[in-house]
């Protein structure tokens, strides 16, 4: 995803001279193409995320469109108050980019696990939160946040995420992308969980369970209509995120269902417990350990359907 991001940003910057890229001394092998092409518009501020964010706000309030770049929690939690006061309060045109959402830096340990960022950043006024599901969504999300004035958070995976969309995808901020349709259960994924989610849908279909799959790449503003349609038209909703179940995608959808859904719908948040993991391992290893795999998602879907208020014939598997 990071290479899709930088490629997209470099192309955008060629057409829009307001675009700048700031990094907190990270992005080896990523940011060079931008830096070489636009040396005047690239600033490595050093290992100083608070200053990076304040500088970005100052540049943005002087007419620039500024991307701040770092990994994990560094561009978000380290400088949270600068994001709140300097960027969001002034509605400054700053886009925060974090590479390494979830367990992407798995073996590096808890300091590098970005597992609460969505919950925290989506609480901020004026903020748009986007976690694209594959490289194509990343490319389109980068363009979309650049075009839309005001603060945004772009939560990326790392490298090597497989493409999920085979052809074009219709991407717009705040609008879920439906990849499959079925009436039994809706799987709603955000960020890099999309690939496993689609694979899980394949498993379920083979067991006769008909699945709707939504890529909920935008968590704020949330596509509430897509959520309500899923509640109305399918028997159960399972949210899938490489993030704590507290306050992230599942939390945001629970808020909508609790306040706006017409009738009962079976609902489950699949994500990480609100804990620091003691397990050491790769992203794949850690995701598997928390059922964030195709098999884990399929299993959770079957369980929730068994408890669904309107049991459908097909979900006896």
């Amino acid at each position: 995803m990071r290479s899709a991001f930088i490629k997209s940003l470099t192309a955008l910057a060629a057409a829009d001279e307001r675009i700048m890229l700031l990094t907190g001394d990270l992005g080896f092998g990523v940011v060079e193409s931008f830096a070489e092409r636009f040396p005047q518009r690239f600033i490595n501020v050093g290992v100083a995320e608070q200053n990076m964010t304040g500088v970005a706000a100052g540049l943005a309030l002087s007419g620039k469109t500024v991307f701040t770049y770092s990994i994990g929690n560094f561009p978000t939690l380290r400088c949270l108050e600068q994001i709140r006061n300097d960027v969001c309060y002034h509605n400054a045109d700053v886009k925060i980019v974090s590479v390494g959402g979830g367990f992407a830096y798995g073996p590096l340990g808890a300091s590098h696990h970005a597992t609460e960022d969505i919950a925290i950043i989506r609480a901020l006024p004026n903020m748009t939160v986007v976690a694209p599901g594959d490289p194509l969504e990343t490319q389109k999300a980068t363009a979309a946040v650049a075009e839309q004035p005001g603060p945004a958070y772009l939560r990326l995976g790392r490298a090597g995420e497989p493409p999920v969309h085979t052809g074009e995808c219709d991407f717009s901020i705040g609008k879920a992308i439906q990849l499959m349709d079925g009436g039994d259960i809706t799987l709603i994924s955000t960020g890099g969980m999309l690939h496993d989610t689609v694979a899980a849908a394949g498993i379920l279909e083979r067991h006769g369970i008909h699945v709707r799959v939504l890529s909920m790449h935008t968590i704020r503003p949330l596509d509430e209509e897509a959520v309500l349609a899923a509640a109305h038209e399918t028997s159960a909703i399972l949210t899938i995120e490489e993030h704590s179940i507290v306050g992230g995608l599942g939390g945001a959808i629970a808020e909508v269902l609790a306040e706006r859904a017409d009738g009962p719908v079976a609902f489950k948040r699949l994500g990480l417990p609100s804990q620091f993991t003691s397990i050491v391992g790769t992203q794949r290893f850690l995701k598997d350990a928390y059922s964030l795999s195709a098999a884990g998602i399929a299993e959770a879907a079957v369980k929730i359907l068994a408890a669904a208020p309107l049991t459908v014939d097909s979900c006896t598997a």
Partner: protein, 279 residues
Amino acid sequence: MHTVSPEHSEFNAQLADFARLIRRDSLEMIHRARSSHLGSCFSIAELLAVLYGRILRIDPQCPDWPDRDRFILSKGHACAALYSALATKEFFPRSWLDNFYQNGSKLPGHATHSVPGVEISTGSLGHGLSIACGMALAAKINAQPFRVFVLLSDGECDEGSVWEAILLAAHHRLDNLVAIIDYNKIQSLGGNREVLDLAPFPEKWRACRWSVREVDGHNLNEIEEALRRVPFNSGAPSCLIANTVKGRGVSFMENRLLWHYRAPDDEEFSRALAELSAK
């Protein structure tokens, strides 16, 4: 442009009147509102009078003029003094000062950008210098002539983010950036020396490759003479350390930590007003 020399006594009397008005307004606003930070307002009265009276290239009729000088009050808690200066410059009606900090007011208790003339909202310390760096960088990139002035408190320099910004400003040779420090030596719970010693303070800025000057922060001539000479050295950001007295102008408030917090009662208000009016 000004045609009178700074030494002209009548000319400087106007500036002294401006500083006195800032103190009077701050006293009345904080007394009425039962709010805080009077000592912090008093220590920057001359700095604001010189900036708004002589230095800043701004147009109250056109607050968003792209080439205006930027001023950031990073110590946003001293906003009563800033609001007084802005009202005096006619960015907004003086009547707005009357219900500062009170229910439904247009003027909140920290500097807020919804107020005409307030460039940046502040209130949490350690933010202003970074934003100022971004603005100064933008001026360089765009080849715009504006300067960026940012007024920090000394206690604020405890914040690590200030030192991140100090490094960046020097690295990028931001000679269109001026940091002014209200060095009154008193912070929230005590003197700088007791809480977290900043000394040797000017040397720290110099070591970070800023060009530094020190002035008596209540001497209008010294402040103006220094600010007319920015950048102190081309190719380096400028730091003006203004040696000030917290609570300056009212004898029983000077150098007293209490007046970081206390709103004067009616009797104290009258005594303070009498002292300010006598000068």
